[in-house]
């Protein structure tokens, strides 16, 4: 490694020794966790470590692949909290507005993100999950506004968000995809009601959003009316690929938790257990290499259809294997309830980690949906005949 990079590593390590919060694991409530996230994000922005994947013109942006890797390795090493609250703003909103937004929208929203404005993603609906194009939330044009009515669900951190990436239906004519439009909605608009959802591991990470004649200015539309599907792809692509380098390195760092678990139960010399640990370690290393390679392709404009699905599926399956081994090594101890650590996928609270791992196998296009994409769009396996109706089944 060049001396420049070594210096860079030393610099961020020193900074983290000084600044990284150490008490975030003890946040007893979701609100307290969110507060700690805000403070941590402010510090990272000021130091230039918050958005290494943004372009150079942004403070802290324009980092090379190796620099990004070092940042994530060091964050993991310092056991610093992952940015969950600003996740949608720094990835989804940034990618969408950066790629498809007007100059004016970029000026207006991207600066605000670095100032701490938070976003949520309002795509999924009760009847439109994997089949996202089935959304029904309706937007009707009224002068300079759209009037939006409907319901969104599973929206991560919506209860704390200032803004929403909102996918709506502006037409029911033609193909389902053709009638979709992409809006940026203020969460404090009249008619917006947010209700947190209780999750099986005790968190309230996502929420339902009810929309009752909410007025959204037309200049807060991204892309043309009817072009929402294409814009949404930019949003989805950001969560499938880019963020996985950080998550993979975090999982790599957290291998120590499994090693410690093994020691705790007195099996540090159990050859069978060591083999399983070794196999997992190797697999995580391989997934890290895959995430690296994906980011390199992305930066060199060499990404191909399906690459992002491969990385996401590989990470999600590996994350499950991680939690699975932890649960196994913990044995009965792992079955006694322990308070969860908000925002940590590799916390060592094994049952919670296991339940949390579904976030990556279901959200952002489930494993099954990724497999469909890989099979059909990468490997050229033919799609099934399109329509299925109750009459055919009868």
């Amino acid at each position: 490694m060049s001396t420049d990079l070594q210096d860079f590593r030393a610099e961020i390590r020193q900074w983290l020794d000084r600044e990284a919060p150490t008490d975030w694991r003890s946040a007893a409530t979701h609100d307290a966790f969110v507060e700690s996230q805000r403070a941590w994000f402010r510090k990272l922005v000021a130091a230039g470590y918050a958005v290494p994947h943004w372009p150079e013109r942004w403070p802290g942006g324009g980092r090379t692949l190796l620099e990004q890797k070092i940042i994530y390795e060091e964050l993991s090493r310092a056991d610093a909290p992952r940015l969950l609250l600003p996740f949608v703003s720094t990835y989804h909103a940034y990618a969408t507005i950066g790629e498809c937004g007007t100059q004016e929208q970029q000026e207006r929203y991207l600066h605000a993100i670095l100032d701490g404005e938070t976003w949520c993603q309002g795509f999924s609906e009760p009847n439109a999950g994997s089949d996202l194009a089935a959304i029904r939330t309706k937007a009707v044009r009224d002068g300079d506004h759209y009037v939006v009515t409907g319901q969104k669900i599973w929206s991560t951190m919506a209860q704390y968000a200032d803004m929403c990436l909102l996918l709506v239906r502006t037409s029911t004519e033609g193909a389902k995809q053709a009638g979709m439009t992409y809006l940026l909605m203020d969460m404090d608009s009249p008619g917006v009601t947010v209700r947190p959802i209780h999750q099986i591991q005790g968190d309230e990470e996502f929420a339902e959003i009810f929309l009752d004649e909410v007025r959204v200015p037309v200049d807060q539309r991204v892309g043309a009316e009817g072009a929402g599907w294409a814009v949404a792809q930019a949003t989805l692509a950001s969560e499938r690929g880019l963020t996985l380098m950080e998550l993979s390195y975090r999982m790599r760092g957290a291998l120590t938790r499994i090693a410690r678990q093994l020691t705790e139960v007195g099996r540090a010399d159990d050859r069978g257990a060591l083999r399983d640990l070794g196999a997992l370690k190797i697999r995580i290393d391989a997934v890290c290499a895959l995430a690296d390679q994906f980011l390199r392709k992305r930066m060199n404009d060499e990404e191909q259809i399906g690459d992002a699905s491969i990385v996401k599926l590989a990470y999600a399956r590996c994350l499950r294997a991680y939690a699975d081994l932890g649960v196994r090594f913990a044995g009965l101890d792992g079955q006694f309830h322990a308070p969860i650590t908000f925002g940590d996928l590799n916390s060592g609270n094994w049952m919670a980690d296991f339940m949390n791992s579904y976030a990556w196998t279901i959200a952002g296009g489930s494993d099954e949906v990724q497999r469909n994409i890989i099979a059909e769009r990468m490997l050229g396996m033919p799609r099934e005949p399109k329509s299925w109706t109750a009459e055919v089944a009868a």
Binding site: R275, G278, L379, G380, P382
Partner: protein, 327 residues
Amino acid sequence: MSEMRQTLEDSARKVFPNWEAARDASDAWAQVAQLGWFMVGVPEKIGGLGLGDEGLAIIFAELGRALVPGPVLTQFLVIEALVAGAPFEERDGLLERAMSGEIMTASLAIGGRSSEAVMDADKASHILLRREDVVALISQDGAQVKARETWDVSRRLFDVAVVDDAQRYVVARGQKAAQLNDRLDTLLCIALAGDALGGARAALGLTLDHLKGRSQFDRPLAMFQALKHRVADLKMMIDTADAFYADRTSQSLTALEAGELKNFCCAVYRDTVEDAIQLHGGVGLTTEYAIHRFFKRAFLNCALGGDADYWNERAGRAAMAESQAKA
């Protein structure tokens, strides 16, 4: 893609477009020698091409893709022993002969089992013998060789017993022998990993062709989602192995790092061929279809160069040590 990769892959694909092109062992051997592959890893100043492990890694994957038979992998081990060991009077001459394709062989096993799984020992002029404290090249007439038939017909393996007064060139001794053995284990593991990766890709390709070409229930098999998902999982694992291989072989590796790589790639190969036979249906069980050839080579690769239990355990112990160092 680097220029080196492009050049090596292009020439490999021209000569060995598929496994059938490499079917005849002595033809394939002549082709490999002619392509100059035995010179790839040797430094320029002693007559090689100086492309290092990165260049070799590309070739290993091509050998696996085309199921190239014959003692190619072991030839690389002998060449590496000559390059990395202590120079002796006849070294340059032997090296030149090995690079030009005179068969010299070695074992594909590790851990003191160097008299087993020696490739094509009957055809070799010299056999590399690896002991903990000494690595030596003995001439073939100083060895008794016994053929062991393998399931994988692309490899011919022999047990070797060395007669006491065999003529030998000592390549390394003592501490140096331990270092050289480590280096040879590393290279062997990279070679098996590459072979596995290339083979897995090819086996997946054959399987896809089959699924797209055969119809049941009035539709191509490839339309069934149950099969799509299995194939997609294989593709995901193969791409992961691919990235892992590219990443690791661009650095200089310890034996453990290479063993980990070998383990991962061989496991992916094995999983791929296991499913590949199933997805072929009955024809997968016939010698008429090629898939069994990949299947058998994949299983042999798993058993060579240290098996899964061996490397997983070492990796696990290393992870424990790493975690203790962090605490």
